[in-house]
Symmetry: C2
Subunit: 428 residues, 2 copies
């Protein structure tokens, strides 16, 4: 663990650095995969699945009966937990619905906004060591509330070509009918272009490795939107002498187990707390699994002491953490002044894992400093905002001179004429 | 003009096609420009400006005195018009402010969202035949309302290395202090990486040609967000026998003058109206400028008759127009059922040019079918949504079992432990 005491601003840029993600060197692979899928559709998908997942899948769509039967393989305690999580996620995202607000900007000029669902959305759920079924809840529930007509899900096949039953169960619970066993950049390419079996979607959501991220960015060139570029997960905990070091250690460790490149930062307003937390980490680590990931992340972690609250919040905003735990007495200062963060957890009894699963907030969040310019997934991610305007005769007369003068100054005579021709009638 | 009468669904895909934009073939140029700017900063900008804009600019930042003096070169009528437009755009975007809404998902589990400004934003204003100063209003006003701390503006230098005075005047009016004479992909690269003179920004906004669009998409790889991929402007007018053919013609022509690749589509619920509109177009065209653009766009335009309202709205949603004028008696049907459009103009007295300049709505809108998955620029484009949660002791006990069970099922023991360690204390 690397410790810093009142680090000067000159080294902050170094301190906030994430493990380098170089997308450029994999762009050639992505180009190859996109070209192949665009040209050969399902044949390309079969070829690439053979190459990358080492399995020859003739049909990658999961049969309806398999989805229906998955319920029998999920134990009741887990079902109950998923149900509670579902309810909380549903409630929180439902509360994000907004009403349209009409205003009259000039007399007779009425303008308003309305939100409409994105019609088709595709979710990518990575494979790997564990079935990340919770992400399905995070993506499908707001899509249901928004009213997206079509949801599809792509996830890599396991080595025997099967799908994970918990994933199938949660997908069915969320009304997802079309599930495809295809992973990596080829899944993103399939949802971008569409193949005979996999439909093209309007927007692609979900986490993934750097190949998936590079593929998502590439898909934008072909009229697909994406939730955000995803990177390794990260947590910044802020605490003072009133916080419980054991809780802080448990939060830092929960982040560290995600992967070897997970980012763990502890900002402390108390010098002695840094050593207490370090001790607790060393104690708790003994009872955990995924030890290689944890050791690697923890050895790269940074424990930083600031004796000044303003410096601390400035540093936190510069880092722009995906997850930000505030565990200090003067919490309102750190809530009010946070500008860039994905999701904020306040107090001793609000561990990040609560928000990862069941409190109701979304866990698909901007990483790698992207919290400076991206929101986490929320209801708006599944909607477009459309503006409307209706102008009365009086309204048009009130703004006609303005439009004519500005159009003229921009050299757009036909723009001017569209107003003049109407005004001429109105003045007669 | 191409006319279609009740075209069968089988050819709709052909009818909605935009002029092909191929980004892939220019990606090599974009890679070259990005590499150069990343490595050589201001030297690269000078080199590229020499190459593309045929001018050797040693200092591309517009001097403060020039910005301050610009006011003397703008005539009063235009100033008054810009003021009215400013007020209306301000009012409409201010009305988009939302309140945070706290909810308790489970007892003791309180979750909410808050919006915070994106700290630094960069605007790209294209050069060319006319100074598109209105776009500055559309980007800077919502940025001011959102509270963005830093706004910068890039625009290509004119052939004598000067900046347009109306652009400088409007920029000053909108509180933009940093203006750089740099155009094309090199401007986007500069705002992505930052150079000694031009700062890196968090999000890049504004229209541009296909090089600018490809550069904006590329910038996402380097932790920059963009408003949307932009393409040639487009308008779809829907009308029935109660509409005024002369007004429709003027709207179609106002769109056609943007460029040779502008898209103009007229969907008519009346057969005879198609011929009336065609006649009005031929009459009005005689008095317009930019005739080459107009002739080219109009010759590619499509006039489509549908005898069925449902087919008409299905077609419109498939096309997903940037601008959508509704000029029919049964307007509510076509308002309620629009799913994909950028901005909607309703009635005989609501020409598109009103929204382009002065009604208050934003004119930076999704083109090329992107209205299916993107919103036009609005207040939210300049903010991030951050989620917050605070859980009480009771709250944690209420969801602890759920979090523990789900974390266990995903194989994330440290996630489970962060809850268990707290619950153990609470139960003692």
């Amino acid at each position: 663990m690397n410790k810093y005491y009142n680090p000067p601003k000159s080294i902050w840029k170094e301190l906030i650095k994430r493990p380098t993600i170089k997308i450029s060197f994999i762009n050639k692979t992505i180009d190859y995969i996109f070209n192949l899928v665009q040209k050969k559709g399902d044949d390309a998908i079969r070829l690439l699945t053979k190459e990358f997942d080492k399995i020859d899948l003739i049909n990658n769509k999961v049969e309806e009966s398999k989805i229906a039967n998955a319920i029998n393989y999920v134990d009741n305690e887990l079902k109950n937990s998923i149900n509670l999580a579902f309810d909380n996620i549903y409630k929180f995202h439902k509360s994000q619905l907004t009403k349209s607000c009409k205003i009259e900007t000039s007399a007779g000029v009425v303008c308003w906004q309305e939100k409409r669902p994105i019609e088709s959305v595709g979710f990518y759920i990575p494979g790997g060591s564990a079935p990340l079924f919770s992400t399905i809840l995070m993506l499908a529930i707001p899509a249901m509330i928004a009213g997206c007509r079509k949801m599809i899900l792509c996830t890599p096949p396991s080595s025997d070509g099967s799908a994970n039953n918990i994933i199938l169960y949660v997908a069915k619970l969320c009304n997802i009918k079309d599930i495809y066993l295809v992973g990596g950049a080829q899944a993103i390419a399939a949802m971008t272009f569409g193949t005979s079996s996999i439909p093209k979607v309007n927007k692609i959501f979900g986490p993934g490795n750097q190949y998936v991220t590079a593929a998502k960015i590439k898909s934008i060139q072909f009229n697909t939107a994406i939730d955000m570029p995803a990177g390794p997960s990260e947590l910044l905990v802020l605490a003072d002498q009133y916080a419980n070091p054991s809780y802080i250690a448990s939060d830092l460790l929960s982040q560290a187990e995600h992967g070897p490149d997970s980012q763990v930062i502890f900002v402390s307003l108390s010098k002695s707390l840094i050593n207490d937390v370090e001790k607790c980490i060393n104690d708790q680590i003994k009872n955990l699994d995924r030890i290689d990931f944890i050791n690697n992340s923890i050895s790269n972690s940074k424990l930083i002491f600031f004796d000044d609250e303003t410096k601390a919040i400035d540093f936190i905003n510069l880092y722009a953490p995906e997850h930000y735990i505030i565990n200090v007495k003067n919490e309102s200062f750190f809530i009010d002044n946070i500008v860039s963060a994905g999701s904020v957890f306040i107090g001793n009894y609000t561990p990040e894992s609560a928000g990862d699963y069941a409190s109701g907030t979304n866990h698909t969040l901007p990483t790698n400093g992207n919290a400076k310019q991206y929101s986490g997934v929320n209801l708006d991610s599944f909607q477009k905002t459309i503006t409307f305007q209706k102008i009365s005769k009086t309204g048009l007369l009130n703004i006609s001179k303005t439009v004519e003068t500005m159009a003229q100054a921009e050299g757009l005579k036909a723009h001017k004429n569209a107003v003049s021709i109407r005004v001429k009638d109105l003045k007669n």
